[in-house]
């Protein structure tokens, strides 16, 4: 690991030798803006998926909750109330820091950021501006061998939600969200295109969901981005940056960045300077508009919060979290490949898994990978993954359902696979049984169901029944039988299929083929 001082920011950059050096990256030549370099940095506010809020006992709210119901006197800033730190929020923030290779600080502190607004009942927000929970770190993007640096990760309170009722010309305030825990993740200005920004956001969302610290959903509001954009000629220092707030989706973010880049280039090419501003994004016009200029930006009068002592985190605490936190996507993929899964199978499993619901307070969710892991105990992983991806997911897809709708327990599917492996039921019977359990939401053990539905395979010794079925088949399909006698072996498959149909899947297809051949050859 090399450590060098960045010339423009007085911080040390930790660079991995095999990744590109960020500030000396070769300028990317983008056809959209030839002769210009784009610099993007992103500040993310992610809602911590804890049961209770950051400093009060009230529950965090879900989308669709009745307004002003998950509010305590502290959240409404009643006089005489005091904050009590929720340790679950700290735990989840530490998980995030570890996942982003950020250095968790032994000592961090809370500050008050003051401004007056109707969505801020206390007139200040508790945050960690000067002594954040974690410093440094990086996030490797999915494409291009690029790592985006992380400046810091801090805990802070969320504001209430303010909706403007245009008809009545009133602002409606919902305090349900006030005081919920947020992780603010500040990136270094290391991205060089709207696509890299989108990649960063999607990768970060996946990481947060994987460690269980946030739902990371931009549309639902549990993941908010403020984007900083500037342009410069290659080789020159970074230009003046503008901040774009209130972006609701990755797509809109890319459009906003592109439109902002063009706006900067237009100003600079006509000889003007780019004024430092905070801007909003108009989705209809697909362009940014000015919210406030640098002069109008408020003085937040940061003051250390006198009620909250410094947060001290020990090495032991960090190690416990490191050991008990969920696996990161990279590690999961490597582990699955190691078990012998093909890349395609691993990809499918992980894609399905990424759709799993994030549990509260970091409790491990029941996703496809966890399901697979449970089944693969003492079983061949390749057999397990085949059953899961081909049969189970196939059946669910036909019913227009997803893995989260899966009604089959690990125990049930495990027993079913074992019955097939041991020859107690045929593969075909197994598939029918699977379909039956899914359709009827049955919770009975497969062995019991196999008996009830008469799906047990006929044993290898019972040749009589098999002979009967084969004879019946030849009678039912005389033309095909004649074709086989004449030397066309492929038609045999149709006959075998008929035997399976007659036996309702209980016959062993291999044996049936042998017996048919036998009869027809005579």
């Amino acid at each position: 690991m090399l450590i060098r001082r960045c010339p423009w920011r007085s911080v040390q950059l930790h660079q991995l030798w095999r990744l590109r050096q960020i500030h000396t990256r070769e300028p990317i030549h983008d056809k959209r803006w030839p002769g210009w370099e784009v610099v993007v940095g992103i500040e993310v506010h992610a809602q911590i998926k804890s049961r209770r809020k950051l400093f009060s006992e009230s529950f965090t709210s879900r989308p669709g909750e009745i307004p002003n119901t998950t509010v305590s006197p502290y959240d409404a800033a009643f006089p005489g109330t005091l904050p009590t730190l929720n340790p679950k929020c700290v735990e989840l923030a530490v998980r995030t820091a570890l996942a982003l290779n950020s250095e968790v600080q032994f000592r961090s502190a809370f500050d008050r950021k003051h401004y007056f607004y109707s969505d801020l009942p206390a007139g200040y927000q508790i945050t960690q501006r000067y002594s954040p929970l974690a410093n440094g770190g990086y996030l490797k993007l999915s494409r291009g061998n690029v790592a985006v640096g992380i400046t810091q990760i801090q805990l802070e309170q969320d504001t209430a939600k303010s909706t403007f009722d245009g008809l009545r010309r009133t602002s409606l305030i919902d305090l349900n969200r006030a005081g919920s825990g947020l992780m603010e993740i500040v990136s270094e200005p290391d991205m060089r295109s709207p696509e890299e920004a989108a990649d960063y956001v999607r990768t970060l969302q996946a990481v947060l969901r994987a460690v269980g610290s946030s739902d990371g959903n931009m549309e639902q509001g549990s993941f908010r981005c403020d984007v900083n954009v500037s342009v410069n000629r290659p080789g020159e220092p970074h230009g003046t940056r503008c901040e774009i707030k209130n972006l609701n989706s990755v797509r809109f973010m890319m459009v906003a960045i592109t439109s902002e880049v063009f706006r900067h280039i237009e100003l600079l090419e006509s000889g003007c300077l780019v004024p430092q501003e905070t801007r909003g994004f108009d989705e209809d016009k697909a362009e940014t508009f000015k919210l406030r200029s640098k002069e109008d930006s408020p003085d937040y009068r940061y003051m250390p919060d006198p009620n909250l002592p410094p947060l001290l985190i020990s090495e032991e605490y960090i190690e416990v979290i490191r050991k008990t936190m969920p696996e990161l996507p990279d590690a999961t993929r490597a582990r699955l490949l190691n078990l012998g899964l093909s890349e395609r199978d691993a990809d499918v499993l992980m894609t399905v898994d990424s759709g799993r619901e994030v549990g509260f307070d970091g409790e491990l969710g029941k996703g496809a990978v966890a399901y697979f892991d449970a089944l693969a105990q003492h079983r061949d992983p390749k057999v397990v993954v085949n059953w899961m991806t081909h049969e189970l997911l196939g059946q669910l897809t036909v019913r227009k359902e997803t893995f989260s709708d899966n009604p089959i327990s690990v125990a049930q599917l495990g027993e079913l696979m074992d019955l097939v492996q041991d020859g107690k039921i045929t593969g075909t019977s197994g598939k029918s049984l699977l379909k039956h359990i899914i359709t009827n939401r049955s919770s009975a053990p497969p062995s019991v169901l196999a008996q009830e539905l008469s799906l047990e395979a006929i044993s290898g010794n019972d040749t009589a029944t098999l002979q009967t079925w084969c004879a019946e088949t030849i009678e039912a399909l005389p033309e095909e039988a004649e074709a086989v006698r004449r030397g066309n072996p492929r038609v045999l498959n149709k006959l075998v299929g008929k035997v399976m149909q007659l036996s309702r899947g209980r016959a062993n297809a291999q044996n049936a083929r042998v017996v048919l051949n036998d009869i027809l050859r005579r």
């Binding site: 005489g80 005091l82 730190l85 007056f116 940061y302 009620n307």
Partner: protein, 414 residues
């Protein structure tokens, strides 16, 4: 401060000097009861109740106790929960107890000083125990329950900086009498120096105003409380236009002044020179106390005790007696100057007890303050008990029972 800015008008000190024995209440000289817990102090002094609660941020319980001639305790910061107390300056606010006697104050204090997890600044049972253990030996050695206790194990510090030129000389006399009595019981009197004392008052007002501007930001008339609607035609898109009406109507002039000063102290330009500097001075004040005491500070992980140090400090509670209400003393900077003796203990979070120590030349009460190391409230109260008991033999001291009786009789005659 002097409790002259209440919405009900100034609190009038109910104390009656010996000269005023036959003058009806309505015709007597009206003096300040001290503040900001002047109302609580006046209620106790007038015999309306046995004890009252107040909040002491910079002397608001001790100063009125001194002016009204009663006992007022500001406990160690963190011993009494602040859950439910309207915050003014979180790092300085303490719930205080006012009472006629030490015994009454102690009963109330003992029942309310327990650990409350809802207060993040509350001292844990572990730290309380640690602090109590440091003075246990001394308390048992003193045996303060007898009428003539042996105080030879006690080292009392007299801080030099607490006798400024502004201090009324007859107050010094009263304090000297108390010191003499303690000395005769065997206590050692040792002069000590707390060099940061002259800077403490300025630091206090910067910190208190800054924290107050933060804590009072919530009173905007949106969630609860008074709301003064903006005038028709106001541009309601800016919150400040809407809030200004409620806040201007709801806050008195003095509070508005402190909020403005505090806001200024926190602005980006002024932060380093005012707020940060005040915090540095605060740290110096704390270090001064820790160096003066031989009792270790339980809140510090390593506090090597100063073997030559003292167990408690003794000093006048105020630079003068209760100021007359219609005088210059109640306007300008003078009200702030009255806090000069009390703010250092507030900045350091130390227990401080003000008890009556006779009267000054004008016949009005004088208070003496006992200050101990953090968590040594029990020791402070015990020494206070000794002083109170030995004071019964002093002629110039008007016992409260007699005062209450004559007040009652006079009301019926007049």
């Amino acid at each position: 401060s002097l409790n002259v800015n209440s919405v009900h008008g100034p609190v009038v000190n109910p104390y009656r000097t010996l000269n005023e024995k036959l003058i009806p209440w309505a015709k007597r000289e009206r003096r300040s009861a001290g503040g900001s817990s002047g109302g609580s102090a006046a209620a106790v002094a007038a015999g309306m109740c046995d004890a009252a609660l107040g909040t002491d941020t910079g002397g608001s319980v001790r100063l009125p106790a001194s002016y009204c001639g009663i006992t007022g305790l500001k406990p160690s910061y963190g011993l009494i929960s602040r859950w439910g107390v309207v915050s003014f300056a979180d790092s300085l606010d303490c719930v205080g107890v006012l009472g006629k006697s030490i015994d009454t104050v102690k009963i109330v204090f003992d029942s309310i000083s327990s650990y409350d997890p809802k207060d993040p600044t509350a001292a844990t049972p572990c730290i309380r125990g640690k602090a109590q253990a440091s003075v246990e030996a001394l308390i048992s050695a003193l045996d303060t329950n007898t009428s003539k206790p042996d105080l030879s194990a006690l080292r009392i510090g007299i801080p030099q900086e607490y006798f400024p030129t502004e201090l009324d000389t007859t107050i010094v006399t009263a304090v000297r009498k108390v010191l003499k009595r303690l000395s005769s019981l065997g206590a050692q009197l040792i002069p000590v120096s707390l060099p940061s004392t002259p800077y403490a008052l300025s630091a206090y007002y910067v910190i208190a105003s800054a924290e107050a501007s933060s804590n009072l930001a919530r009173y905007d008339g949106v969630q609860y409380g008074t709301r003064s609607p903006p005038l028709p035609g106001t541009d309601k898109s800016k919150p400040s236009n809407v809030y200004a009406h409620t806040r201007s109507a709801g806050f008195g002039a003095e509070v508005q002044k402190r909020i403005l000063l505090g806001t200024y102290a926190l602005t980006a330009d002024a932060f380093d020179n005012y707020f940060l500097q005040a915090q540095r001075v605060r740290q110096l004040v704390k270090s001064d106390f820790d160096s003066a005491f031989r009792v270790p500070n339980a809140r510090l992980s390593s506090s090597p005790p100063n073997a030559d140090g003292v167990d408690i400090l003794l000093h006048p509670s105020a630079i003068r007696t209760a100021p007359p209400l219609d005088s210059d003393a109640t306007s300008g900077l003078d009200p702030y100057l009255q806090d000069v003796m009390t703010v250092p203990a507030s900045l350091a979070g130390l227990p401080a007890l003000s008890l009556p120590a006779g009267s000054a030349a004008d016949g009005w009460p004088v208070g003496i303050s006992i200050v101990g190391q953090w968590g040594s409230d029990e020791l402070v109260l015990r020494i206070g008990k000794v002083i109170q008991r030995t004071a019964d033999t002093d002629d110039s001291y008007v016992p409260l029972e007699e005062l209450a009786q004559s007040l009652y009789l006079l009301e019926h005659i007049a």
